[in-house]
Amino acid sequence: MYSRSTHISLLERLGDSQDASAWREFHDRYAALIIGFARRRNLQPADCDDVAQNVLLTLSRKMPEFQYDPAKGKFRSYLKTIALHAIFRKQHERHGEVHLEYLQDATRAAAEDETIDEAWEAEWRQYHVRLGMRAVAAEFNDADRRAFQQYALDGRDASEVAEALSMSVDQVYQAKSRIMRRLKLLIEKQVEEEG
């Protein structure tokens, strides 16, 4: 059903214990996602880094016996579970025994803030956008990227941007639509590969 996508082969290479570049790539891909999620769960910045490190270590340990089977569940929810465990563990570590106030705070926070699922979903999307933008940054030339940034992201006037970059207004529009199209396609593929 799924071809051996970059994502899956990366997981397999990670399982291959000593494939160092796989580890690096894996960290590049997922560290920010886990850190973002942990931050949404109100952890201190230093603790977020710890959580990310722990999650990635756990994954690398489990990968040798991890058989990727999309039918059994998505990698995405698998990663979420591991991340949540790491976060709870860190919170427990920080607070030692769970005090009553802390419990109340946590309950209130959980009720008032976005739910865990929403937080995870938001970070997950962010992760895909980031990955896609990385590819875009490598694929498009400097002028296109600048045009996209100034016109589409900063919301500056197309003619103003065109003048600043010595492009035609049309080229600015094109840069935006080409990058957007490419980004969508990239994300679509990423999501699909993930299973």
Partner: protein, 545 residues
């Protein structure tokens, strides 16, 4: 799956995601550091990011460098970082950017705080492209600090030869000062030299190359990004650094990097091609013959060529042996005086002669090496001993006369400095004589002259006098001139005895040396006589065979 297939189809929502990502990245990169406000990112490199900030307590503008390594949990690493930083912070030199605070950000990244120097980097002054593509960086993650600047782009406005040399002389003096305090830079390059609005240079990031990659290697993700134990930035790395042997680097690696910077400052180019792959550049550093500066900028003369090429010698022992030597030559050149680099020619001739009379010469050069070694070792040991004694004196003093503390400390420091200077002047005179007299002077003549010099010198303190007698004694022993050696070793012993008494450790050391000497000379009776004067006669050297 219907839900996920939707969210990226909406262009506005997707754009908002991209914007959010940018903001988040920026926020994540903005570290929070207690005691400092208004952080503004100035630059970002492989090792870390530099911010301008205001110190809350003093309202002073400072520069803060935050290193990348996130996994800073290891207590051992942290202590090591702090120790290194402490060492660097103790450097006080008008051309070294001062460091005065360090710690760990709230996000767990190590940082240090230094003086903010208004001005530009030497790299910008040289016209290297300093403007990185910030936009691409945001999404590409951290690039490795492997910059291969273009060798073809000449500086827009080349500095005058004089300005360049004066600038570099100051930089060399600063680096030399650091060397004398046990700090090797390891990553000298134009971007680590800042020029203030008055044109005064400041060297920064001392020792960072040592702290940062080591610390980095500790975090799992970067262990893999490092190929070998490379330290430094490729185009400025010395051949021994390029070889990837961190133990092979010493002050002369800094001399090499200074040579590259000098070459760049004078010509706007690198001495050899630095474009291409990492390995290719490393290969060039190790094997490519550097260009002559005058070949690129014809107004440069042969002496400048000699200075630059001496720095860029592939073998460390063919370079200037210290940044101070390089600084001295730059100053000599600027003052119109003869430079040492050109003496290379006569040294070369000497080496040739030596090859011809190899057998004869070998004995003499071994002796010469011994003289040098003995003299240097003794000076070092002696200085250390004096310092220890002074410290002991100082402590006694502290207890008794708290009020006069400072004056006494200053006095003893001055005394120490004066004595060190005297010794160094004397040794320099003696040890540089061979070059001035020509290669044919026999070593014994030189030593005799040194001895005569010592007789004539009358302003020497007993310590200096005794130390020099020991050095000469060792040197004569080295060339088997035993009667002369005996005379000087005895003189040394008598001076210590008179000055410090029989029980003083320095007197005892002189006695031990005498015992050793007589054993070598096969004079067992004398050896036994002096051995009896040792308080602790069980030292291995003195123990009867």
């Amino acid at each position: 799956m219907s839900n996920e297939s939707q969210w990226y189809d909406d262009e506005r929502a997707l754009l908002e995601h991209v914007r959010h990502g940018r903001r988040a990245t920026r926020a994540r990169r903005q570290p929070r550091i207690e005691g400092y406000a208004d952080l503004q990112e100035l630059s970002r490199g492989g090792q870390g990011a530099v911010y301008r900030a205001t110190q809350r307590s003093t309202h002073r503008t400072v520069a803060i460098k935050v290193l990348h390594d996130g996994a800073w949990a290891n207590e051992h690493r942290r202590r090591r970082f702090e120790r290194e930083i402490e060492l660097i912070a103790s450097l006080r030199h008008p051309n070294i950017v001062r460091l005065y605070d360090s710690g760990v950000t709230e996000g767990g990244y190590p940082y240090y705080v230094m003086d903010y120097i208004e001005g530009t980097g030497l790299d910008e002054l040289l016209g290297a492209d300093a403007q990185g593509d910030a936009w691409a960086q945001t999404y590409r993650g951290q690039p490795l600090d492997v910059r291969t600047p273009s060798a073809q782009s000449p500086p827009s406005q080349p500095l005058s030869v004089r300005t360049s040399l004066e600038l570099l002389a100051k930089v060399c003096e600063a680096v030399s000062y650091a060397h004398q305090h046990g700090v090797i830079h390891r990553d000298l390059k134009p971007s680590n030299i800042r020029i203030d609005t008055e044109g005064e240079p400041y060297v920064l990031d001392f020792g960072l190359a040592k702290i940062a990659p080591d610390a980095l290697a500790q975090t799992t993700e970067s262990t893999i990004s490092r190929t070998g134990d490379f330290m430094g930035s490729p185009p400025w790395a010395s051949p021994e650094q390029a070889e990837g042997n961190p133990h092979g680097t010493d002050v002369r690696s800094d001399v090499y990097a200074l040579g590259v910077v000098l070459f760049q400052t004078l010509t706007g180019q690198f001495p050899y091609p630095v474009i291409g792959g990492f390995q290719e550049v490393l290969q060039n550093i190790q094997t490519a013959e550097p260009l002559r500066p005058s070949g690129v900028r014809p107004e440069l003369d042969r002496e400048v060529d000699s200075i630059v090429l001496k720095c860029l010698a592939k073998q460390a022992e063919d370079r200037y042996q210290s940044a101070a030597e390089l600084a001295r030559d730059l100053r000599s050149y600027l003052a119109g005086e003869p430079i040492a680099a050109r003496r290379d020619d006569s040294l070369y001739a000497l080496r040739k002669t030596m090859q011809r009379y190899r057998h004869l010469v070998r004995a003499v050069s071994v002796a010469a090496a011994l003289v040098l070694l003995g003299a240097i070792l003794l000076t070092v040991l002696w200085t250390r001993a004096i310092r220890a004694v002074d410290q002991a004196d100082q402590e006694r003093h502290d207890a008794q006369l708290a009020a006069q503390d400072e004056a006494a400390a200053r006095e003893s420091a001055q005394r120490e400095a004066k004595q060190a200077r005297r010794i160094s002047v004397f040794l320099t005179t003696v040890l540089t004589t061979p070059l001035e007299k020509g290669p044919d002077t026999p070593l014994a003549d030189l030593l005799n002259e040194a001895a005569a010099e010592l007789e004539r010198a009358n302003a020497l303190s007993p310590e200096v006098d005794a130390t020099l007698h020991t050095a000469l004694g060792n040197a004569y022993t080295g060339i088997a001139h035993h009667p002369e050696a005996e005379r000087h070793l005895l003189a040394s012993y008598e001076t210590w005895q008179r000055h410090a008494g029989d029980d003083d450790p320095r007197t005892q050391e002189a006695v031990r040396r005498l015992v050793q000497f007589y054993l070598v000379w096969d004079h067992p009776l004398e050896a036994e006589y002096y051995r009896a004067r040792l308080i602790d006669a069980t030292t291995p050297e003195a123990a009867p065979r």
